[in-house]
């Protein structure tokens, strides 16, 4: 009696898998490690015993406060100007729209220092517009906190514009039709129908813009300069501290990371929209 020639397949234990093919999962794990390692490195080398001293240093607190104020202003301006721009690019057909879109998002690909220099030539004391700002209104932007906000807005706004434009494109314009047939003006429609519908994308774009503004270095130091209390934001403080006091630099860097982390994790579910609910539903 010969044994059965069939190779019995071992029964697989019922286990909930990730659903990802193994090679894809492996790449994903490498990606996670890629992002986690620098952070782990910082935590490893952080001078925990001296951390409090560096944190409560006057200059450090000033830089932190300045960073928060400027980045929030930059985010606000990005929303106020960016949403209408996104709307224009998404909805209105005009000749050269592609060029305008490329122009408005140029600063995303420009090296930030180049952006700073360009801002000089536009808004500096001798700039195309800047010279009139100086001569007629006595307004100077370089070396001021306002200049920091301008530099940060310049690099951060495109992130918001791109996110929101994609969302507006996706919107069903028939909802706006419905709103108008009910007697709502375009502005009322925008306020009560369009904006709520793009809220998740708006939140995501705002967070992206804020993060970009917070971390902005090249354009800030080139255009606004570096002076504690006025224009020395956290990234600049970290950079300079690295030369004389690397330990302090690590601590400041960790503070920035901790804040960003808290914001990203905290806002994720609340504002980005629940993934089980579509952005706009059609009752059928």
């Amino acid at each position: 009696m010969s044994p059965s020639r069939h190779r019995q397949r071992k029964p697989r234990t019922r286990r909930r898998g990730t659903g990802l093919p193994v090679p894809v999962l492996a790449l994903a794990v490498v990606a996670v490690a890629f992002f986690a390692l620098p952070l782990i490195g910082l935590l490893w080398r952080a001078p925990w015993s001296n951390a409090w001293r560096y944190l409560t240093d006057d200059d450090a607190l000033t830089a932190l406060r300045l960073s928060m104020i400027c980045s929030l202003w930059a985010t606000g301006l990005s929303i106020v100007f960016g949403v209408p721009l996104a709307w224009l690019l998404a909805r209105v057909e005009f000749p050269g729209r592609g060029v305008v879109r490329a122009l408005c998002t140029l600063s995303m690909v420009l090296p930030p220092v180049v952006g700073g220099v360009a801002l000089f030539f536009a808004l500096g004391r001798r700039g195309i517009v800047g010279q009139y700002l100086d001569r007629w209104f006595g307004v100077t932007l370089p070396f001021t906190t306002a200049g920091v906000v301008v530099a940060q807005t310049f690099v951060a706004m495109p992130f918001l514009v791109i996110t929101v434009e994609a969302s507006i494109r996706q919107l069903d314009s028939r909802f706006e039709d419905a709103s108008r047939t009910l007697g709502a003006s375009r502005w009322y429609t925008f306020r009560r129908v369009t904006v709520p519908a793009i809220r998740p994308a708006l939140a995501a774009g705002a967070v992206l813009a804020w993060a970009r503004a917070l971390g902005e270095f090249g354009a800030t130091i080139t255009f606004a300069g570096n002076f504690p209390g006025t224009t020395q934001t956290m990234p600049l403080a970290v950079y300079l501290a690295l030369e004389t006091n690397p330990e302090a630099a690590i601590v400041l860097a960790l503070v920035l990371i901790a804040i960003s982390f808290a914001v990203l994790v905290g806002l994720r579910d609340r504002w980005f929209g629940r993934t089980d609910q579509p952005l706009v539903t059609v009752a059928t």
Binding site: D177, L182, T281, A283
Partner: protein
């Protein structure tokens, strides 16, 4: 106190020219095939599509007249619109949806909500007042959309295929409800539908729109009694032949001849009911039928005891014979056959 519309508009491949007049309290249904321009005409009335030339006036208000450069935006027109997919705002409750129009027009929140609640009660959605539209069934959503449109007391109510999104089972009960809710509305109504049953149940008059032109207007009974378009003919289930009558013969554009009994000369329609067409395998000279056309069978559809036979040839026709007759002749698609009709069985009327 009427809707008076003369619309001319070119949009993409659609060339729309239509005249429409609606009396207060009257419901006119726009019926027609897809692409005929029904929804476009509705959008013109709403102001969502400006016309190229013509004039639209709601009561005494001229809302669109290109020749005098008058155009009133949708938000300023006294209209209510029920959309095909209802388009209820999903991030607001039913109450906020129904109150939306009033608040948009400046009514204070408390007053708007009060009126909204009345309407919600009237359409029987009280239990869903604070729910999101996504939790409503199809029929309920339709009622909410209707309440929302009527809450602002419009003069003109526009409905775009309001029952199309419902399944067959709910459609008839919702249709009854819609009729009931509209009974107390005293404004003008225009309904777009592709289902003649809707027109029958809800409309006073029917306008048949085909390829951008209104080809027939009248009560549904009148329209179906004398079809003037392929669409209505198909709807009713009769053959329609178009041509010119002279000396007792109607000649079509392709040259086919239909011998008819007494009719006035000129452009005319000839209606041939399918049961009156006899099918013959081999033409014999001894029949009294003057009309014999040759053709090929394209399809055969059995409907119980009867069979519909589609024929193409000198004249495209649909004949209806009994199953027994079909078996006797052993007809199959692709077979050559002759179709014959007595002239007295053909109804002719002027175009």
């Amino acid at each position: 106190m009427t809707l008076s519309a003369h619309v001319a508009l070119r949009l993409g491949t659609l060339d729309l020219i239509a005249d429409l007049d609606v009396q207060p309290g009257e419901m006119v249904a726009l019926l027609g095939p897809n692409g005929a321009g029904k929804s476009t005409l509705l959008r013109c009335l709403a102001g969502l599509a400006p016309i190229d030339s013509g004039r639209i006036a709601i009561d005494d208000l001229v809302v669109d007249e290109p020749s005098t450069e008058v155009f009133v935006e949708p938000e300023s027109r006294p209209i209510g619109f029920v959309f095909q997919n209802y388009l209820l705002f999903d991030h607001m409750s039913v109450l906020e949806n129904v109150a939306y129009g009033l608040r948009a027009r400046g009514t204070p929140k408390a007053d708007a909500r009060r009126t909204a609640r009345e309407w919600i009660d009237r359409v029987g959605l009280t239990d869903y007042t604070n729910q999101r539209p996504s939790s409503l069934s199809g029929g309920q959503a339709q009622r909410a959309a209707l309440a929302r449109a009527l809450a602002t007391s419009p003069r003109l109510l526009l409905l775009d295929e309001p029952l199309a999104a419902l399944d067959a089972g709910t459609r008839s009960s919702v249709r009854r409800d819609l009729r009931r809710h509209l009974a107390t509305f005293d404004g003008m109504r225009v309904l777009v539908t592709h289902d003649p049953v809707d027109a029958y149940a809800l409309a006073d008059r029917v306008a048949i729109l085909d390829a951008g032109r209104i080809v027939q207007v009248g009560s549904l009974a009148d329209v179906t009694a004398h079809p003037r378009s392929r669409y209505v003919a198909d709807l009713v289930g009769v053959n329609l032949v178009t041509g010119t009558v002279s000396d007792g013969v109607l000649t079509t554009a392709s040259g086919a001849r239909v011998v008819i009994a007494d009719a006035l000369p000129g452009p005319s329609f000839a209606m041939i009911r399918p049961p009156s067409i006899a099918l013959i395998r081999n033409q014999s000279p001894g029949s009294s039928a003057r009309n014999v056309w040759s053709g090929t069978i394209t399809d055969i559809d059995r409907l119980g005891d009867r069979v519909r036979v589609g024929i193409v040839g000198q004249l495209p026709l649909t004949a209806e014979v009994t199953v027994a007759a079909l078996d006797a002749l052993t007809l199959r698609p692709g077979d050559e056959v002759h179709a014959s009709v007595k002239a007295t069985d053909i109804e002719v009327y002027p175009a």
